[in-house]
């Protein structure tokens, strides 16, 4: 009997949740920025998925090691090579597809890690207060003002070539302070709310309060910040690769730009110079648009404004 009540309650909550989600989704999709960003991302997602196809058709299309035996230097677009080949006869289109995969991998994983870290630090600082708060926020201030690209460059100088996962880790390690500040502010305001007091009075442990009461309320915000972190992670990785400190075993868009720049084909192979740059810029733009659209979903103040205007 009781069980049933619980089930009904749960079902109700789920229904409510679904309704809220659908409403948010509607708001999101009503926003032109959200729509454009989303469709661009779907396109890049498709590219990433399709990147597994070319090497299966022919090892010649492997982005890193496949070369066209008939081509010895960069040639323009043709039927075999839709975007031409690079300096040693590798297919640029396959590289572009593989680059999408790397961009998603780097962007999403670095953003996820930095947001998890930032949320954890922000919640801890906000909830614990006092010395912990001061110490963590001073640390955040310190890391925040460091130019991440140059920091990673510096580490590359010390540790030699960094693998792609090291790069992801480094980006995550140096991009969390922004998130943690926001989350801390949010936590601080949540802490003042009566339901936290109520939970504390009823004997909930700190961990329980953090995980059951505070976290669900800060997660949407954290999620929003993730989209912005994705863009910065992608841009930093691309910048690093462009400067020649990327993971040489990975074909990323930044790496492609570095090749076209360093091998001297820059002035005569627009088919090679343009696509990777357009892709990086577009994927950044789409995540950025997504973030702004989500901003509106999460901040009803902005939503009303768009309705009226």
């Amino acid at each position: 009997m009781e069980n049933k009540t619980v089930q009904i309650l749960k079902a109700k909550r789920r229904a409510l949740w679904r309704q809220r989600f659908m409403e948010n989704w509607r708001v999101f999709m009503r926003n032109p920025l959200g729509r454009i960003g989303m469709s661009l991302l779907v396109m890049f997602g498709l590219m990433a998925v399709c990147s597994y196809i070319p090497p299966m058709i022919d090892p010649m299309y492997h982005p890193m090691t496949g070369v066209d035996p008939k081509v010895v230097s960069s040639v323009g677009p043709s039927w075999q090579h839709w975007l031409g080949t690079d300096f040693m006869g590798r297919d640029i289109f396959s590289q572009l597809l593989a680059g999408a995969r790397v961009a998603f991998l780097v962007g999403v994983s670095a953003a996820f890690m930095s947001v998890v870290l930032g949320t954890a630090v922000g919640m801890t600082a906000g909830y614990m207060g006092r010395f912990t708060d001061t110490a963590l926020m001073r640390l955040a201030d310190m890391i925040m003002v460091l130019p991440t690209l140059l920091v990673v460059l510096m580490l590359a100088a010390l540790f030699g070539q960094l693998s792609i996962w090291m790069i992801v880790l480094m980006i995550a390690l140096f991009r969390w302070p922004g998130v943690s500040r926001i989350i801390r502010a949010q936590t601080l305001s949540l802490k003042q709310r009566p339901f936290i007091d109520a939970a504390r009075v009823s004997g909930a442990s700190h961990l329980r309060i953090i995980f059951r009461h505070i976290m669900p309320n800060v997660l949407p915000l954290a999620f929003l910040y993730m989209t912005f972190r994705v863009t910065s992670a992608i841009v930093i990785e691309a910048g690093l690769a462009f400067l020649g400190f990327g993971d040489p075993g990975t074909v990323s868009w930044g790496m492609m730009l570095q090749w076209v720049w360093k091998t001297g084909y820059m002035f005569q192979a627009p088919y090679w110079l343009l696509p990777p740059g357009i892709c990086i810029s577009l994927i950044t733009l789409s995540f950025y648009m997504l973030g702004r659209a989500m901003d509106e979903v999460l901040d009803p103040r902005l939503r009303d404004e768009t309705q009226a205007g």
Partner: protein, 323 residues
């Protein structure tokens, strides 16, 4: 106010000390031994041993740390492996170039971004607003090195309007008749493309921040009061809305400075602009560790100090804040 500035400067010192210590620790933790990083790898064993002793790399760690701190505090970062000159000398030569390019770019893009953001907010929802917002979004998210390459390809290679790289041309500097203005003009001429790159990337973010801040401000009561007072729309916008909308922009300039510095290094590298960012990239690729470390420290110091400046500026602009 003075107390606040002093406090902030003390914080900067502490942060710099932390960074220095972390660099020192990392330097020891990194694979390979520190000596390799300080000594030219292509020497014969006897030669390099000789050099190690002479450079004092055979001391115990704690002593090395003390020496290191002492050197850093006096701005003596040792000798560049590549140039064989004191690192400080190498870097001081590049610093003005970076400051010239970077400050001009930041100021220019802030000025244009802010004034356009003002207009965009004022004309919210109109074609002007839409056009400006889209332009800002697009240029802001362009991949900087690619934009730089593109500008080089179009304006330097195809159209041949501007030099591809560098900061001055030898013709001008070897010409005995060239006066100060000719030389300045030459530098400006070389600066056009890198400046355009940085400008395009940055003005968008200022525009967007200013626009949203301005929209917030326009909802305030004092705007209504100003209108009720019978002020012209232009005065309302420029004398009442803008000075308030400015404030968040100033904060965002400070916070985005670190990010802009990344772009600065990339721009300098693509355009061979002889600045610190390029020197850092170069030092890293040459394994010139002392040089890389010092460039990094200098950049960090500049960023930290600029943040202090921004905070002080904020206090100056906002009378509500007094330290």
């Amino acid at each position: 106010m003075r107390k606040y500035v002093l406090k902030r400067l003390a914080q900067v010192m502490v942060i710099l000390f932390c960074i220095l210590t972390i660099l020192f620790v990392l330097f020891r933790l990194a694979p390979g031994d520190p000596v390799t990083r300080m000594v030219d790898p292509e020497m014969t064993p006897e030669e390099s041993q000789h050099l190690i002793e002479q450079l004092g790399l055979d001391q115990p760690i704690w002593k090395q740390y003390l020496i290191y701190l002492k050197n850093c505090s006096t701005g003596e970062f040792g000798y560049s492996i590549h140039y064989g000159e004191p690192v400080a000398k190498v870097i001081w030569e590049k610093l003005p170039n970076t400051i010239l390019l970077f400050t001009t770019a930041v100021l220019l893009s802030a000025m244009v971004g802010i004034s356009w953001g003002k207009i965009a907010a004022w004309r919210k929802g109109k074609a002007t607003d839409l056009g400006m917002t889209i332009a800002a979004l697009v240029t802001h998210t362009l991949f900087l090195p690619w934009l730089a390459l593109l500008l080089v390809w179009i304006f330097a290679y195809q159209l041949d309007w501007f030099p591809i790289t560098g900061m001055v041309s030898d013709e001008v500097w070897l010409d005995p008749d060239a006066g100060f203005f000719t030389k300045a003009a030459d530098v400006l001429y070389h600066m056009v493309l890198p400046l355009t790159t940085l400008f395009l990337i940055h003005f968008g973010s200022y525009l967007l921040v200013m626009r949203s801040s301005m929209l917030d401000t326009l909802k305030e009561d004092y705007i209504l009061l100003a209108r009720a007072k019978g002020l012209t729309e232009r005065d309302i916008r420029n004398k009442h809305a803008a000075p308030n909308a400015w404030l968040p922009v100033v904060t965002s300039v400070g916070l985005s400075l670190a990010f802009s510095i990344n772009g600065g290094a990339l721009t300098e590298t693509v355009f061979s602009w002889p600045g610190i960012g390029r020197e850092l990239v170069f030092a890293v690729s040459q394994n010139d560790y002392p040089l890389a470390q010092a460039s990094f420290m200098l950049i960090s110091t500049v960023v930290l100090l600029s943040n202090v400046v921004v905070d002080v500026l904020y206090a100056y602009l906002d009378p509500r804040i007094r330290y």
